[in-house]
Structure formats: C-alpha cells, structure tokens
C-alpha cells in the first residue's frame, strides 16, 4: 500500500512549520527523510498520524492506498494508527511506558485492533519479540522496559509498532538515542523487516550515514520544504540542490557518500 503526502502544510499558532511537503512511500522501500533540526522532518511524520501538538492547523493531503487520512473521524483515525500506520520514536527510554510490562505494551493495541484473545495476543507477542531478535523472548514478555538496554528497548518499540501488521512504518530518528555500536543492528533489523514484510518505511534522520546505509529513496528537507528527492545513489552522489551538497560536505570524510555495497551487505545479512 502506498502513502502519498501532497502539499502538506502545517502551522502552529500561526507560525508556519511545513510549507507544502510532497512525499511518496512505496511498499518494500525505505524512504529516508533528511534535514537539520527544525526542518520539519518529525512534524511531517506526526502529521500523518494526526499527532501534532494542540493548536496545529493542517492542510494538504495524506492518502493511504487512496484513502484520505487528514479528514478521518477520531475513531477511524484510531483504527489507522497502529493498525495500518505505526510509528517508532526517537528515544526508547521515554517512548515505552516505564511502569507497564513489555508484554502488556505489545498486546494491548493488538487485542484492540485485531480483536484477538489474551492467549493468542501473547503468542503473537512472543513471536514478534523473537522476530526483532530479543534473546529469551518468552521471559522478556513479562519484564519491564528498564530491565533492557537501549538497543533492546528500541527493538521492543519496533516490535510494538509491528504488532498489528501495519503497512506503513514511520521511524522518527530510531537510532539517534542509541550507542553507535547498536545503531547498525537496529538499522539492519528495520531494513530486513521492510524487505520481509513489504513495509513502506519512512526513516526520519539527520544522519546521512544512517541514510546511506539503508534508504532506497532519499528526500532532503529544509525550512519546512522538501528541496530534493530521488533515489539514494543519485541524491547522495550527485546532489542537485545546494543545500544537499552542503549537508554532504559537512560530513566527516570517512562517512561521505554511500560506500559501495553497503546496502547490499545489509540485505544479504538479513534475508
């Protein structure tokens, strides 16, 4: 299923945040959304699910398989949230409820969206924990978020997002809060899930290194506008826009541009 964002404008208390964003996500593809802090990347992700802060005004269009999301009634929107479009947030230390078990946070929306009983939800949850490579899934089910490391927590958050088999996954800086050593593992997982489940993934990041490792398509945002979009190879190798060039130039030399075969490696490792 494709997610199309066209002419998305957002303003908060009269202040323009997004000035007409166009993006298109296709199944089985990771779409990287890059840009510096404050460029509107996160707001774009939140707008898709109607999670913008209070006092926000939204115009434009967000369609999922041809269905307009921006004008949905709250109840219908709740069915799309988690059910068809899921989200992974930046910091797993704060995006998981500290006082509820992992199992509870995995099964609650499952039971609500899929209308399955407790036992079935539990079975699925343990399976998901295995799928995101949490060691000892059965035991992990009953534990609390603080009993996991940062990387493991983000895997749990990804499992929570995938619980209801969504078609679209919005990952908002999913590796930014993690140690560099565990970032690659989480990215590899995302890439693998995207290929395996045919997810359309919007990967929001300010890190072009992350982008070059996993994205198929890349869009670059600046001041609430998408200034450049295209296949990863082209955008990162021959940036057409001056801003993209300056972003690339600001990278340390070793990280500059996609290293040949990087993405290929990740694909083979996962599949």
């Amino acid at each position: 299923m494709t997610l199309d964002i066209t002419g998305l404008k957002v303003s908060i208390r009269g202040k323009a945040i997004l000035g007409g964003v166009d993006l298109s996500l296709r199944e089985g593809q990771v779409h990287g959304l890059a840009g510096e802090s404050g460029s509107g990347k996160t707001m774009t992700g939140l707008a898709v699910l109607g999670l913008l802060p209070h006092g926000s005004q939204v115009t434009g269009s967000v369609t999922l398989g041809g269905r307009e999301l921006l004008t949905l009634a709250p109840k219908e929107l709740n069915e799309v949230r988690g059910g068809q479009v899921a989200m992974v947030f930046q910091d797993p230390a704060t995006s998981l409820h500290p006082m509820l078990t992992v199992g509870r946070q995995l099964t609650e929306h499952m039971r609500h969206h899929l209308r399955i009983d407790k036992r079935e939800a539990r079975r699925r949850a343990v399976e998901l924990l295995g799928k995101v490579r949490i060691p000892g899934a059965e035991e992990a089910y009953g534990r609390f978020p603080h009993q996991f490391s940062g990387g493991m927590r983000q895997r749990v958050a990804i499992a929570v997002a995938l619980a209801c088999s969504p078609k679209v996954l919005i990952a908002d800086e999913p590796t930014t809060a993690l140690d560099v050593t565990v970032q690659a593992g989480v990215l590899r997982l995302l890439r693998g899930l995207c290929d395996e489940l045919g997810l359309a993934v919007l990967l929001v990041t300010h890190d072009l290194g992350v982008m070059s490792a996993v994205a198929d398509e890349v869009s670059v945002m600046k001041d609430g506008l998408v200034v450049e979009t295209g296949p990863r190879e082209r955008v990162l190798r021959e940036p057409a826009h001056a801003y993209t060039r300056s972003l690339l130039d600001s990278l340390p030399d070793s990280e500059r541009g996609p290293r040949p075969g990087t993405r290929g490696d990740i694909r083979t490792e996962e599949s």
Binding site: R81, G83, S95, L96, H112, F144
Partner: protein, 316 residues
C-alpha cells in the same frame, strides 16, 4: 516523644483538675500528685510510662477516671469513620476534578475548578464547619445536626465501631441512612482542603504525564482515549498524587479536632481537645500515640503503594 512534649507544656495539671478550695489545702494537692505519680522524678515517671506502654497500659485519664486505652477504644472508631469518609471523598473528587481540569486545560471548566480548589485550600476548616452547620442544619434544615446517628434509633451492635458498617452488618437500613446523613457534612467539611490540594496536584501531574513520549506513543498505537487515560496517564500521575495524599491525610487528622468539636462528633479529636484543656496528661499522651501510629501506617501504605504502582521501586 509525646511524653517529653506533654511534660514540657507549662501548666500545672493539679491546678487544672482540682477546685479552688482543694488547691488551698496542701495535703489534698500532695495526695492528688501521689495518686497520679506526679511526685516522682521525671525519669521515673518516664520509666513507668514506658513500662505501662509495653503492657498496653496507657495510664488512667484524670478526667474520665477510666483507663486511657478504654477511652481511646471508644473514641477512635468514630474518628476513623469520619476521617476515612473524608479521605475517600477527597481521593475520588480530588483526582476526578484534577483530571478534568487537566484534560480541559485553559477552558472554562479548568479555570472554574482551579479557582474552587484555591478556595478549598484557603478557607479555614473551623470557619467552614461553623458555616456549614449554620446554613445546612440551622437555616435550611437539610442535614441532621450533631452526633453520629439519630438518638431515637438507638445504635447497631458494635462490631467494628464504625456506625455505617455496623448498621449494614446488623441489616438496620434506617440506622445506616441516618449515620450516612450525619457523616456527610462533617466529612465534606473535613475533606474540602484535601480535595482542593489533590485537584491542583492531580492537574499538574496529569499535564506533566500528557506531555510524555509514551503517551504520544500510546496514541500512535491507536488506543482509545479512555484506555490511554486510565492505563498510561493516571498510572504515572498516581505517584506524585499519593505522595501528596499521604501528607495531606496527616493534616486532615488535625482538622478532625475542630470539626469534631463543632459537630459534636464523639471522636478522638474531641477527646484530645478536652484532655488538652484540662491538662489530662495520660489522655493527651494516649492521643499522641494513636496519631503517631496512624501517621506511621499512612506512610507505610504510601511506601507500599509506590512499589505496587512503579515496578522500578520494587525490591528485587
């Protein structure tokens, strides 16, 4: 502690208890002192007091001439009933008002609740008690006056000492409604301060939690609003709420003294008031002990609740 404090109070229990004529006779004064152990040195009095405590003997009240423990057994349940009702009411209303104010932030209902809670915190309990007594009982005559139950109905056999519970146990519906009727006004008056306090703390606690990432994440999961409110928001907000509630219940106990005096509620508050004014030291110490124990229990309950609510404070 209570022993030291009560003995530090300037004032002579002899003067407070004996009449003018008796005071003039040194023999009577000496006799009275000896009867109540006041002729011994302070450390001996303390040792005797401790020894008594260990045996469950709190001494004899100089006013009622009965063992203090017996007096307390009679008055404590009445106060527990009153304070318990007030705590229940303030938890339910305070938390509910706070949640409503937070969810309807900056709207009319929020502003109204905030002003009302400020009034609840600021109005002195004794004044409110007098006002409520005057308006509802004397003027409007919609609430019964003083005491715990209509004297004409008699009372249910004492099992727990709580009139409402005993009446229900005995199946006496008439006594139950009368007891509840007598309970409502003093309990509300007593609860008003805590309601106001809890409303304000709940509001800020809920607002704080609403801004957390995990609440946004819960909304992104498509959970219905009420599930998010009860399972995600209130659960976290409860930690600061019970902290404040625990502290507030302490001050609620001191409020019982005034409320009981005005509504003629036969509880510990009134007993404490009477014993303090007559310098009935054993009785005052007994009340001090009870209040101390109640404080301890409240703090223990709050600590246990922390562990129940938040797995991170549980003992591993």
């Amino acid at each position: 502690m209570t022993f030291v404090l009560t003995n530090l109070v300037p004032g002579d229990p002899v003067a407070a208890n004996l009449g003018q004529r008796a005071l003039g006779d040194p023999a009577i004064v000496a006799q009275w002192r000896a009867d109540h152990g006041l002729d011994r040195p302070l450390w001996q009095q303390y040792a005797l007091h401790l020894q008594g405590l260990l045996h469950g003997d709190l001494g004899t009240s100089q006013q009622s001439h009965r063992p203090v423990s017996q007096d307390l057994a009679e008055f404590v349940p009445a106060t527990l009933e009153l304070a318990g009702a007030a705590i229940l009411v303030s938890l339910v209303l305070g938390v509910a008002f706070g949640v409503i104010a937070a969810l309807r932030r900056d709207r009319l209902s929020d502003h109204t609740l905030r002003v009302l809670s400020l009034v609840g915190i600021s109005v002195p309990t004794f004044w409110l008690a007098l006002l409520a007594f005057y308006v509802f009982f004397y003027r409007l005559q919609i609430t019964p006056g003083s005491g715990r139950v209509d004297a004409a109905l008699g009372s249910a056999p004492a099992v727990t000492g709580l009139q409402t519970v005993d009446a229900l146990l005995a199946g006496r519906w008439d006594i139950f409604t009368s007891a509840v009727g007598h309970l409502i006004t003093p309990a509300l008056v007593l609860a008003l301060y805590t309601i106001g306090l809890l409303t304000r703390f709940t509001r800020s606690a809920v607002l704080e939690v609403l801004g957390q990432d995990y609440v946004r994440a819960a909304r992104a999961k498509g959970l219905p609003g009420r599930v998010i409110l009860f399972r995600y928001v209130l659960r976290s907000a409860l930690v600061p709420i019970i902290t404040v509630a625990g502290l507030a219940f302490g001050s609620l106990l001191s409020g019982t003294v005034l409320v009981e005096a005005i509504f003629a509620w036969p509880g510990v508050g009134q007993y404490a008031y009477k014993s303090a004014t007559t310098l009935d030291l054993p009785a005052v110490m007994g009340v001090g002990l009870v209040v101390g124990v109640v404080y301890l229990v409240i703090n223990l309950v709050v600590d246990v609740l922390y562990g129940v609510i938040d797995p991170r404070v549980r003992l591993q």
